[in-house]
């Protein structure tokens, strides 16, 4: 293809995005668009799958049958999200096995928040309330993103996430209306999850490398700092309802900005975790790789069975 032709295709492509048209798998797309989408969608899928671990860790210990059922359903939803995000990613010409390989070798990232440990039952509340809360803020704009399969997957993901967020808040509310011991458990969870949740919205705008291009492709509609502010403004009043204290001494309502001012985020901690040295990075990867390796003979058996079955069918037909 001549340079001229490529330029014309690119022009047409950019116009379509500007007109809010969806790009579909069979449409022409710039290589960079394809690669960026594989990176982001797979990172999102990996986050769902790794995100099953801290909560899965509490299924056997959930305090009541009702909570156990809700938690099972939630973790199952996350697996489902992983499944359709991997499928969306596969439409860009990459296989699920390749994507797993990238996760297992550390080439692909997942949300750093899941490298923190889930230590008490209140963490199930805090994760739903804060982590899913921050995830929704990140994800709602993606329902209108330019790549069709991703946008459609996100519509479904967001519906379920907002249910999870309410469920998490309800766990916290129950604890906060319970005994002093339960309320203390809730406060402790907020103390541990607050700052990592703020970090989930990504590095500050001046440090964010992908923002500009992603904005053009509608992979991003707001900057990290805008999203973070939105999360804080939305969440602080909820903490007030719970009667919990947000662990930030600099947190203060700013009348002029009609927004909360907040303290400095420990970016050193953020980069430490991103680079693989958080409290649970190694364990999370060990769990994922372990499940994959232990399952190898099962996947081989399933393949072998499918082939044999096909052959038997062909033989019968003859």
């Amino acid at each position: 293809m001549s340079e001229e032709q490529i330029k014309s295709l690119e022009r047409h492509f950019n116009e379509r995005i500007a007109n809010d048209e969806k790009i579909e798998p069979k449409d022409w797309m710039p290589e960079k668009y394809r690669k960026t989408h594989i990176r982001q969608i797979s990172q999102h899928a990996h986050s769902e799958i790794v995100g099953m671990l801290p909560e899965g860790n509490w299924i056997t210990r959930a305090p009541s049958l009702r909570r156990k059922v809700a938690l099972l359903a939630k973790v199952q939803d996350e697996a489902g999200h992983g499944l359709y995000l991997y499928s969306a990613c596969e439409t860009l010409g990459v296989s699920r096995d390749e994507l797993y390989e990238q996760l297992h070798t550390g080439k692909a990232k997942y949300s750093s928040i899941f490298n923190y440990p889930a230590l008490t039952w209140a963490d199930m509340g805090a994760i739903g309330w804060l982590v899913d809360g921050a995830a929704i803020i990140n994800q709602v704009p993606l329902c209108n993103t330019s790549y069709g399969p991703y946008a459609r997957a996100m519509i479904r993901v967001c519906k379920e996430e907002s249910f999870h967020q309410r469920q998490g808040f309800e766990i916290m509310l129950k604890l906060c209306n319970g005994t002093p011991e339960q309320k203390e458990m809730a406060q402790d969870a907020l103390n541990r999850w607050w700052w990592p949740s703020l970090m989930m919205l990504g590095p500050t705008d001046d440090k964010s490398v992908h923002t500009e291009q992603s904005m053009k492709w509608k992979l991003k509609r707001k900057t990290n700092d805008e999203l973070r502010q939105q999360f804080i403004d939305q969440t602080v009043p909820q903490a007030d309802v719970l009667g919990l204290t947000v662990p930030d001494k600099d947190l203060k309502w700013n009348e002029e900005r009609q927004s909360y001012d907040f303290g400095e985020i420990d970016w050193e901690e953020f980069w430490q975790v991103v680079k693989g040295h958080g409290p649970m990075n190694k364990e999370r990867m060990k769990a994922r790789v372990g499940a994959w390796e232990r399952g190898e003979w099962v996947r081989e058996a399933a393949m072998a069975h499918a082939e044999k079955k096909q052959k038997r069918k062909e033989k019968q037909a003859v």
Partner: protein, 250 residues
């Protein structure tokens, strides 16, 4: 309190409770995303059934105990599940083998329980049977897949079936409460399910290319609360919150 009915319900529900708990351990650790989702789904169904049974049992007990008290605050010797369901997730073949050997029983049991003179039990059976039909299809398909797949998967599936086989006979034992409930047309006469069970299970194993174990030595005791050593650890997890933080709401 009608203690025969109460004990009868616990005998049914504890199987689902303990098996659901075992499957819950695997959430996030399955060999594929699809089997992970299926396992969690089965666990979810079983716990849903457990809630219906224990809510009913709590009503019969009528002493203020809740479904959670019944599920989580009994002592080890008071759990009445069969030994089969408490066996650990040694590997995927054991998980599937345990599931299949239980599902085949569970399905035929619920078919009969639908005819119970007790309307609550028959309604629970009626609702559960759709779920359990799916469980049985999933587990029998996997038995066939692993039996037929590779030499390795066949050996693993055969080993799991051989090891779990000794727990199957107990499914068809009757407790005193069972006998009374059968007389009152509330309960299912499990002794009558036995022949069909072994015929069906053998059929599936043969289709999977596996050998039907010939051992005549079986273990029992679960229905009397005499369990394998595995159950204590499972209960430690199950009961942890209720024991550590008594009398609280969650």
């Amino acid at each position: 309190m009608n203690s025969n009915l109460y004990n009868y319900i616990l005998g049914i529900a504890d199987n689902s409770l303990i098996l659901g708990q075992r499957l819950g351990e695997l959430c996030g650790h399955g060999p594929t995303l699809e089997t992970d989702i299926a396992g969690t789904n089965i666990s979810l169904d079983l716990f849903g059934q457990v809630r219906s049974y224990f809510q009913y049992a709590a009503k019969i007990a009528g002493d203020g105990r809740t479904e959670d008290d019944i599920a989580m605050l009994r002592k080890e010797r008071e759990y009445k599940n069969v030994l089969l369901v408490e066996q650990p997730n040694t590997n995927f073949a054991y998980t599937i083998g345990r599931q299949f050997l239980f599902d085949a029983y569970h399905l035929s049991f619920l078919k009969e329980l639908q005819k119970s003179a007790d309307l609550t039990l028959s309604a629970i059976a009626n609702k559960s049977i759709k779920e359990v039909s799916y469980h049985e299809r999933f587990s029998s398909d996997w038995v066939k897949r692993l039996g037929d797949g590779t030499d390795e998967s066949k050996a693993k599936m055969q080993e799991a079936i051989n090891d779990l086989w000794m727990y199957t006979d107990e499914l068809f034992h009757q407790t005193d409460a069972d006998k009374v409930m059968v007389e009152e047309s509330v309960g299912v006469d499990v002794t009558k399910l036995k022949d069909d069970y072994y015929n069906y299970v053998s059929e599936v194993l043969e289709e999977a290319g596996l050998i039907v174990p010939e051992s005549k030595y079986f273990h029992k005791g679960g229905k009397q609360g005499i369990h394998t050593e595995h159950l204590g650890y499972l209960l430690a997890d199950l009961q942890y919150m209720q024991r550590t933080y008594p009398n609280m709401e969650w």
